[in-house]
């Protein structure tokens, strides 16, 4: 759970580009010697925004998740290869019909206040999420086709989850942080003071939260995985990305995301290690298929041919991203690039447009504020499309306003095209994005309807064998790419800069560098 939280946190923290040959020479990664670890060391992290609540059931923002990641544990978590591994659950089995999952819990785990962790806490956590009066957005994760998953405690250390039907992605949803029943039972979770002074089972205990400034946590000596090497972690709230970078270079924080333009400089800077790794996200230009402009597949394909993805990546990311062709990411086990790529070909684009009988196409691209890369991409796309005679207007909107348009329950929705991104979950199941039933409420906000896709999606999520699922998804990506309901734009790389005094990092990957937080240390 920690890992997922930190992974998400780091993923969304930054995207960058690699360097063209420059005057600065990148230095090699220099990691500190564990023998030099400071037993009273403090790690200072930067959070990109305000923390709302420190309660995994309620929070939705990455800052809160980052804090929860070190305070709470889930039944399971992920490892560096993005595989699901045990955490509070030491093992689990599935019934032959795929509907009953039985989790055996680890004995002897204590809450930060000394009480013993039991199955009752697990059931309490999931019941709370499923409670409609609790403002938890995760509720849908535990409802399959309208029916709730039932959680039962068989004994103090065994929990059962009874699903209405087999559901492959279920395991990836068991990373939810477990909250203590003895402290929250009977209280109104939405407003409980617990949310400002949480108690968990994780490697670090909550110490203080100075509103708007920072949160600090201290070592949990009784952590079940062993005593953490760090004495304290301080998470500072620095909403501005540039200020965070300044703070890193001034030694005020130990870690931050790196924008493409600073990559070269930081790579060559003494005292700082820079890591690049793949992220589980992709950015796209989505067409509103309910809008007559885009109903002809040829129009969409023409625009795909008119897109020079290499230029986009080079200009915006300086190479620290790669062009995207499918609604998955290379790092996912279900990825396949055996799809139609629509390589840059403006001549073909014009041809297709003429074939479709379209002259003087003009439309508006919406994208959200606060994401420089997307804004720039819109400008570049505007130019690229101009070359094939298509006029594009750009509207950069506030995030809430954009979501309101895209998530509006009415059909048809009021937009032409949007430039956004998806952060993919660990499980490749993309039902909510592509299934025809998920319109107009759901993530299929473009009104995409393809019965072949619907069938493949349903099969993908009910098949439990991974090898088989891989084949299903490969086919799925192929069908979707042929339709081009989105133009898939790029896969960003995550780039993180960490000061050399920080050691114990995990292998760079989408799970982030601080996967095993109890192993992290700093030198004096």
């Amino acid at each position: 759970m920690i890992k997922q939280a930190i992974a998400v946190f780091l993923l969304l923290l930054c995207l960058t580009g690699c360097a063209a040959p420059g005057k600065l020479t990148a230095k090699a990664i220099k990691l500190p010697d564990p023998a030099q670890a400071d037993p009273n060391g403090s790690l200072i992290l930067a959070l990109g925004g305000e923390i709302s609540v420190i309660n995994p059931v309620l929070s939705t923002d990455t800052s809160s998740s980052a804090v929860e990641g070190v305070i709470f544990n889930g039944l399971t978590t992920i490892n560096e290869s993005l595989e699901v591994i045990p955490e509070l659950a030491s093992s689990w089995t599935v019934s032959p019909d795929g509907k009953i999952w039985t989790f055996k819990l680890r004995p002897g785990v204590k809450w930060h206040d000394g009480q013993l962790f039991t199955a009752a806490d697990v059931v309490f956590t999931y019941d709370t999420i499923l409670n409609p009066k609790v403002n938890s957005v995760r509720r849908s994760d535990y409802i399959i086709d309208g029916e709730e998953i039932k959680f039962r405690a068989l004994d103090k250390l065994t929990v059962q989850a009874i699903l209405p039907k087999p559901f492959a992605p279920f395991l990836t949803r068991t990373m939810m942080g477990i909250i203590p029943k003895h402290l929250l039972e009977g209280k109104d979770i939405n407003t409980a003071s617990f949310n400002r002074a949480p108690v968990g089972t994780g490697p670090f205990k909550f110490k203080e939260w100075v509103t708007g400034d920072h949160v600090s946590v201290v070592r949990n000596d009784n952590y079940y995985k062993g005593r953490p090497m760090l004495a304290q972690i301080i998470m500072k709230i620095i909403p501005d990305e540039n200020s965070t970078l300044v703070a890193l270079e001034a030694g005020e924080v130990d870690e931050t995301g790196v924008p493409p333009k600073d990559y070269q400089r930081l790579k060559a800077k003494a005292g700082i290690n820079v890591f690049e790794y793949d992220a589980l996200t992709y950015t796209y230009l989505a067409f509103n298929l309910a809008n007559p402009k885009f109903q002809d597949k040829r129009v969409r394909q023409a625009l795909a041919y008119a897109t020079d993805k290499e230029q986009l990546v080079k200009l915006i990311f300086k190479g620290l991203a790669s062009p995207a062709y499918a609604p998955s990411a290379p790092i996912s086990w279900a990825y396949s690039d055996a799809v139609e790529k629509y390589s840059y070909d403006p001549v073909k684009a014009r041809q297709l447009l003429a074939e479709a009988g379209v002259k003087n196409l003009s439309f508006t691209i919406l994208t959200n504020q606060g994401n420089k890369e997307r804004e720039k991409a819109a400008v570049v796309l505007q130019q690229q499309f101009k070359k094939v005679g298509v006029k594009v207007d750009i509207r950069v909107m506030e995030w809430s306003a954009l979501l309101k348009i895209v998530n509006s329950p009415q059909a048809p929705k009021d937009f032409d095209a949007v430039l956004m991104g998806w952060a993919l979950g660990l499980d490749p199941d993309a039902y909510s994005i592509w299934h025809s039933s998920q319109y107009p409420t759901g993530f299929n906000f473009i009104d995409y309807k393809n019965p072949a896709v619907d069938r493949l999606l349903a099969r993908g999520r009910t098949t439990l064998d991974q090898a088989q699922r891989k084949k299903i998804y490969a086919q799925l990506w192929q069908v979707i790419a042929a339709d081009q309901p989105y133009i898939f734009l790029w896969y960003p790389k995550s780039v993180v800069a960490i000061r050399e005094r920080v050691g114990g990092l995990s292998r760079p990957g989408p799970a982030g560098l601080m996967l095993n937080i109890e192993k992290l240390f700093v030198t004096k």
Binding site: K261, R265, K376, V379, R395
Partner: protein, 271 residues
């Protein structure tokens, strides 16, 4: 008034900027929205102000940005003046319950944290240049109204007003044709200050992303994009900032000159 060197300085700058803004399409060497070169080039002969983070020519963007800033300033102030003069005149001239009502309304609008109103309205309407003008106009008329009200309260006691009333002129005629021309001096001064304020507000809004939207260039949103490049390409931030400064400064200097010309004894700065 023209004797004052500072005022002359202000007038010169402003006229220069106004000409540049009017002739933007002729003066700008490149299309302000087109990527014409490598990103973040320093100022050079080819690119007077350098290129921005996407490779667009900053000088051209600045020139078009001048259009935006000056237009916003003008329209916003005109709107504020219309509302302010109307309400202030009515309150000042008619007095009594009309005055109380209008004054209470002014109080409510003043009690409103204007930033919130601006932000909320901007969030409500899609942020674009027209809405920015309207919003700024709608939230900056109060000062003018109070000023005008004060003037009218003073002037209506004067004998020529009594005379006009005795003849049987309609109140509206008196308000606009008789009193207003005599109250115009402080109004004009307030107008120049208002333009300065409007330009600052627009740049602040654009800086926050709630004003003129990219890719349309406005000095404010150019500053927003420049934040990340403070260290690597400081000219991205310095240039638009100086332009805003000079423009606003010119308005202040002109306003100051006007004020001195009107009433050399009253050396007010205004708030």
């Amino acid at each position: 008034m023209l004797k004052n060197k500072l005022t002359v300085f202000g007038l010169t700058i402003l006229t220069l900027f106004a000409i540049v803004a009017l002739l933007a399409p002729i003066i700008a060497p490149y299309n302000p929205n087109e990527i014409v070169d490598t990103e973040t080039l320093a100022p050079s002969a080819q690119h007077l102000f350098g290129t921005d983070d996407l490779g667009r020519d900053i000088f051209s963007r600045a020139v078009y940005g001048a259009r935006i800033s000056l237009t916003v300033g003008l329209v916003a102030v005109i709107l504020a003046l219309i509302i302010g003069i109307l309400l202030g005149a009515v309150a000042g001239y008619f007095g009594g319950w009309v005055d109380t009502l209008v004054s209470r309304f002014i109080d409510i609008m003043l009690a409103f944290p204007s930033i919130f109103l601006i932000l909320a309205i901007q969030a409500m309407l899609t942020p674009n240049i027209y809405n920015v003008m309207i919003v700024i106009g709608l939230t900056s008329w109060m000062g003018v109204a109070r000023l005008v009200r004060g003037e009218y309260l003073k002037i209506r006691e004067l004998s020529y007003v009594e005379a006009a009333q005795a003849i049987g002129c309609s109140p509206w005629r008196i308000i606009f044709r008789h009193i207003l021309p005599n109250a115009q001096a402080p109004i004009i001064v307030a107008a120049t200050l208002g333009m300065a304020g409007a330009i600052l507000t627009e740049s602040s809004l654009s800086f926050l992303g709630l004003g003129v939207q990219p890719p349309t260039p406005s000095w404010g949103n150019m500053l927003m994009d420049a934040q990340a490049y403070l260290r690597d390409a400081p000219w991205l931030a310095i240039i638009p900032g100086i332009l805003i400064l000079l423009t606003v400064l010119s308005f202040y200097l002109i306003g100051e000159g006007l004020r001195q010309a009107i009433d050399p004894r009253q050396d007010y700065a205004g708030s």
